[in-house]
């Protein structure tokens, strides 16, 4: 037992010493880079290295300043864009992170990182919506004082009632269909579903049973929409569905038009929805062109089962359950391979799932052994701190050289070793360069 304790204590001391050494050399590294940055304030590389080193040391405010300076010097530097994004995320500045990551997608070079960034952007878009919703609610009084355009329409989830609760996800699916079809008209601007849902989540508006006539205008005012569309879906018997839709004027809180309603069998759901939309458009005084009308007549799928699966996916997505959402969307695609919206949303949901796992560590890991990774390694290893992976690989390359690797260059014209693999001196060329002697051996054995 004494031996075990001693070993543990010893291991603890080693870990503590290693940690202290790392912190000390990281501080040395930063001090050196700060000095270099001060001496060469016009050097974008110096600012970049300093910014990366600050980020690695969790000094985000300092990192942001240095990386902003580097970015202003060279907006096309992908590594700077990446670390600006990481830093902004660490500071919860989602919009700057998104903008920086989009810059990386434009100018970055490492495909693995680009793929992760694309996935991360899906997560950030949701975060940005939630943040915007919080800020909008906080500024509700100010936003509500500005009248929204009557041409801006928000479609809220429909309220379902009926015995078959498996149809309840149609609340979102039906609203999505209505919103999509209303947006076919060039005279209307339909509020983005994700943005609207983020606001609804924030103010729990959906708990007030959707939008009934003359109610639920709070969300509309915050969104500065002129009109709200909402309604109910009622299952009358096992096979009959009735839809009632209302238009609410956000400013007057009064209903507009006569409202729209229709009742059909379940398998005529899409015909029911088209009929409702056309009546709503008529109530709004919107005249459709032939092309717009033809567009509205298009159905996303012919399969009710696929649309139900899709609606469940929307529900799961709104709850933040992207993994489950992807499964529902995949199921919808399996039932109807031509269901394009389901296929697109499946991809987005998968990106959101994978994007949630994207971290600074995973991104930096993807940079290993790339040209951009070398830039980062140069910053983090400048003073001997951090990974020595680069040095180990350089030595491994010299121990086990690749002729083609050397012949295709490594990024600089400066030869740091003989281009030729020195070991080939023991190979065929060493024999054949002694041609005269070999010939003698052949002819005079």
């Amino acid at each position: 037992m004494r031996i075990v304790r001693g070993s543990l204590l010893f291991a603890g001391l080693i870990a503590a010493n290693a940690c202290a050494a790392t912190i000390a050399s990281s501080a040395d590294n930063i001090a050196r880079l700060e000095s270099a940055s001060t001496n060469k304030p016009e050097s974008e590389a110096a600012q970049r290295s300093l910014g990366i080193a600050y980020f690695q040391a969790n000094r985000y405010a300092d990192a942001r300043s240095a990386l902003d300076r580097a970015s202003s010097m060279d907006p096309r530097d992908g590594v700077v864009a990446l670390y600006r994004g990481l830093t902004a995320e660490a500071q919860d500045d989602v919009s700057t992170a998104r903008s920086a990551y989009e810059s990386y997608l434009a100018y970055g070079k490492t495909r693995g990182v680009k793929k992760q960034i694309s996935q991360r952007l899906v997560v950030l878009a949701r975060k940005e919506n939630l943040l915007a919703a919080k800020q909008a609610v906080a500024r509700e009084r100010q936003l509500s004082s500005v009248s929204g355009s009557p041409r801006t329409v928000a479609v809220l989830p429909f309220k379902f009632s009926g015995a078959d609760t498996s149809l309840a996800p149609l609340e979102r699916g039906f609203a999505e269909l209505v919103a999509t079809d209303l947006s076919r008209s060039s005279q209307l601007t339909v509020v983005d579903r994700a943005r609207l849902q983020a606001l609804l989540d924030e103010i729990h508006l959906q708990q007030t049973a959707g939008v009934q006539e003359g109610s639920g205008v709070r969300a509309g005012k915050i969104l500065q929409a002129g009109r709200l569309v909402g309604g109910t879906l009622s299952q009358l018997d096992s096979n009959q569905l009735r839809a009632d839709a209302f238009i609410t004027n956000v400013q007057t809180t009064e209903s507009e038009g006569r409202g729209a309603n229709d009742q059909r069998t379940l398998d005529q759901l899409f015909a029911l929805e088209k009929n409702i939309v056309l009546r709503l458009l008529a109530d709004m005084g919107v005249t459709l062109t032939t092309a717009e009308r033809d567009s509205i007549e298009q159905r996303p799928t012919r399969s009710l089962a696929a649309f139900l699966a899709y609606s469940r996916g929307l529900e799961a997505e709104d709850d933040g359950r992207f993994d489950a959402a992807a499964r529902y969307y995949d199921n919808a695609v399996r039932l109807d391979p031509n269901f394009k919206s389901a296929r697109r949303r499946s991809q987005d949901a998968k990106s959101a799932t994978e994007g949630a796992d994207v971290s600074a560590t995973s991104l930096q890991s993807s940079l290993d052994r790339t040209s951009e990774g070398a830039v980062v390694a140069a910053a983090t290893r400048a003073g001997g701190a951090g990974s020595t992976n680069g040095q180990a690989f350089v030595i491994a390359d010299g121990l086990n050289p690749s002729v083609a690797g050397a012949a295709t260059g490594s990024g600089t014209t400066i030869p740091t070793q003989p281009q030729k693999d020195p070991s080939s001196g023991t190979g065929g060329d060493n024999v054949s360069t002694k041609t005269a002697i070999i010939t003698i051996v052949i002819h005079h054995p």
Partner: protein, 365 residues
Amino acid sequence: MRRCSLALLLAAAAPLEAQSFDDVSARIAPQIHSYTIDAPASTKIREFSVPLFVLVPVAPRLTVDLGTAYARSHVEQTALGKTTTSDIAGLTDTQIRANYVLGNDFVVLTAGVNLPTGQSRVPLDQVPAASLIGSDFLGFPISNMGTGFGETGGIVVARPVSDWNVGAGISMRRTERYEPFDAGAEGTLRYQPGNEYRARVGADHAVGTGRVTLGFTYATFGNDELAGSIYNTGNRYITQVAFTDDVGPGKIGVGAWNLLRTAGTLADSTFLGHEDITSAAVSYALTVGRASIEPNVEARSWAQQDAATSFLTTVGVRSQLDAGGFTLMPGVGYSLGRVAAQDPGGADVTARLRGFHATLTIRLR
């Protein structure tokens, strides 16, 4: 041994199938290198080659790369007013390497195989074309057309020491027996290269915004055996130093290396004196719009025991620009110097040397 290596290859290939190709990078670099050596050597050597290098990060800790090349060598030699030519062309050997990182970046295992896809058996009329590209001094990018099957394994350990990153490694290479010459009806010669043992240390250190890199490699060899004759051409010591930094609007690079081969013996047991090649180069890269232009100059010397010292100076320029998903790196260079030769009377003299190089490296990712 061969069976064991095939098993290793298969093991490496299995995860490749499951790997996303998003992270694969590749480089291809068609290039031509030509040297003309005046009398008394009166030799022209020209090599056109297309090396291909593909790097696949199989897993976060495992990378595999594959390198091969197509090469065409042409040699013209004039003696007593008569010019003879020698040509050889084809695929060279293929090297597959794997590097595996253990622990927290500090230990790297490296392994590789040399697949004999090139032409290792050379008819006598192709010997000049196959052999003169092997010169350490001229440094052709593809230095031989083919050897036997070979295996390499090694381990590297790297650690931060004070303000330096320091690493050290050892490796061993074994090459299977092969027949380097096709002597027709006069029979064949079997060649068994000796095993090679390498040790290498390296270090890098920040200097301001720049970086200095040092390296030293020691290679020792077991005895070679050619048709029953045992010999050893000497050990090799390679010393390297490089420095890069931002200077003014551009980036400067300074590099030097030295290759020292100790004395040894040839296949007929005659003495082979030592040789020493030193190279120093400077480049300066400037960014112009979306491209960079990098003029460079290199000086090289070759000291051989009992021979005149050879010199070579190369002036070149290289550019780098991104085009779509590719990076293009065209480069040209012109060389001038003198190389050791013997006059008809057997006296050590030097012959004028001129050279031209053009390369277009295309990098995907």
